[in-house]
């Protein structure tokens, strides 16, 4: 008869119930299920990022040309800071494994020591990300878009045919004064100088910046500098469209805003995961310190939060590749 079993199953194959067929506790299995769903969220976000990037008609900024600063240092250090952040997260993942491993040996002091170091690593990562965001939001000098097609010769003698809508980048000092000036601040005025043009801000302290050089292709190709009368040509062809740093509706790095939006959303969502991980780590740290797990006779809680913490590291590995490297 249809629907009825015709074959008998031996008892060794059949699960008799009573014990977990996965050999893990309910809590740990649910942590795994949560991580699978969370990984699908990040997978969806990164797929959306790749799709928008691949279908974008304008050039996408190059990671090593956008992210090349180190706190407190001048000069260019492409990717070094993000690499450092990646390393910090890997190290904090290692201290977490060692905390879990100490838990398996019921070594309370080991758990407290390694979990404490993991919390410190988490704070260092969060601080690094705050600096990274601050730097991304402030930008380096700002950009403006061309109102017409221009042909210029760069300082190294190459000729560039630029189109209406291409971005031109200012240096830090000039951009610093160009921002209030472009917003119509009456304290800042544009004046002729012997080298061409300068911006003057009158106030308690007078600030001046001259237009020495402009940069083209700063974030999308090998950048070139343009100075002198060629820079004046680029300056005179400017449109009203200025961008300084990045915010929710405008950014200096790319023509398309989806670049900044994806950066804020994906790294922000990951950063929020790190923050909640650090908070849970702190709670588990104090529980371990006060001997809660010692009385419970097992440190499974450390193992569960460990899974979450490694997941945060795992996501960063992918964000690092798709946002900064490719």
């Amino acid at each position: 008869m249809g629907g009825e079993a015709t074959k008998s199953i031996s008892k060794e194959v059949l699960w008799g119930g009573g014990q977990s067929p996965f050999s893990v506790s309910y809590g740990k299995m649910m942590m795994w299920y949560f991580l699978v769903s969370d990984a699908l969220t990040f997978g969806g976000l990164l797929t959306a990022y790749g799709f928008v990037r691949a279908s974008s008609p304008d050039a996408w900024p190059i990671g090593e040309q956008v992210f090349r600063s180190l706190p407190g240092l001048d000069g260019e250090y492409p990717l070094i800071y993000v690499a450092l952040m990646t390393f910090i997260l890997i190290v904090s993942s290692v201290t977490m494994v060692l905390a879990v491993e100490s838990g398996h040996r019921n070594d309370k002091n080991g758990v407290v020591k390694w979990l404490g170091l993991t919390v410190i690593g988490g704070f260092i990562f969060l601080g690094s990300q705050a600096w990274e965001w601050s730097h991304f939001i402030h930008g380096s000098g700002g950009s403006y878009l061309l109102a017409e097609n221009v042909s210029v010769t760069s300082d190294d003698g190459q000729t560039f045919d630029l189109n209406k809508g291409d971005a031109i980048y200012m240096d830090h000092d000039f951009g610093h004064l160009a921002e209030p000036w472009s917003e119509g601040n009456p304290m800042v005025s544009l004046q002729d100088s012997e080298h061409g043009i300068k911006l003057v801000q009158n106030g308690e302290h007078t600030h001046e910046a001259e237009l020495h050089a402009l940069t083209i292709n700063k974030y999308i190709e090998n950048e070139s500098h343009v100075s002198g009368d060629q820079a004046m040509k680029l300056w005179n062809a400017r449109s009203e469209s200025f961008s300084f740093g990045a915010n929710m509706h405008d950014n200096e790095y790319a023509v398309q805003q989806s670049y900044a939006n994806f950066f804020f959303f994906i790294t922000g969502f990951h950063g929020f995961h790190v923050l909640s991980g650090v908070v849970i780590n702190i709670i588990i740290f104090f529980m371990a310190y006060r001997g809660v797990f010692e009385r419970r006779k097992h440190y499974e809680m450390v193992e569960k939060i460990g899974l979450y913490w490694h997941f945060v590291d795992l996501v960063w590995v992918f964000v690092f590749t798709f946002f900064y490297l490719i």
């Binding site: 977990s20 691949a54 279908s55 190059i62 040996r105 997941f311 590749t321 900064y324």
Partner: protein, 125 residues
């Protein structure tokens, strides 16, 4: 309280504890994996600094090696740090198979249907 979800003699169940020797072996493996992850990240960063994006075959090879290196790192993190490698095969499958299926499907749809209006796939160019 009596727990009903534990299996006797399982190395990761709650009532079994690792000895000093087992701990030492696990720690040794952890340091080995740490060294591998650090090395792979260093290689990625050096490649990232040295090779510029371009419309060349070399660049697309570099791009795919970034993806492969990332997947290798991910495998080490999941299998060793999250010790999914030491779990029972059925748990491994329950965690990995649905994820692979959904993400594989999503990528397939994004690459094929997402670019259908352009007449061809541009993601792999």
């Amino acid at each position: 309280m009596e727990r009903d979800d534990l299996i006797v003699n399982d190395s990761y169940s709650l009532n079994s504890h690792h000895s000093e020797e087992e701990g030492a072996a696990i720690r040794k493996n952890v340091w080995k994996v740490t060294a591998i992850l650090t090395l792979l990240t260093t290689v990625e960063v050096i490649m990232g600094i040295y090779f510029k994006r371009a419309e060349t075959f070399t660049w697309s090879m570099i791009k795919w090696s970034f993806v492969i290196l990332t997947l290798v790192k991910a495998a080490y993190i999941v299998l060793v740090f999250m010790h999914l490698g030491d779990e029972r095969p059925n748990l491994k499958k329950v965690v990995l198979a649905p994820y692979m299926m959904f993400i594989g499907y999503l990528l397939f749809i994004a690459i094929t249907e997402g670019f259908a209006h352009l007449g061809n796939s541009t993601l792999f160019q």
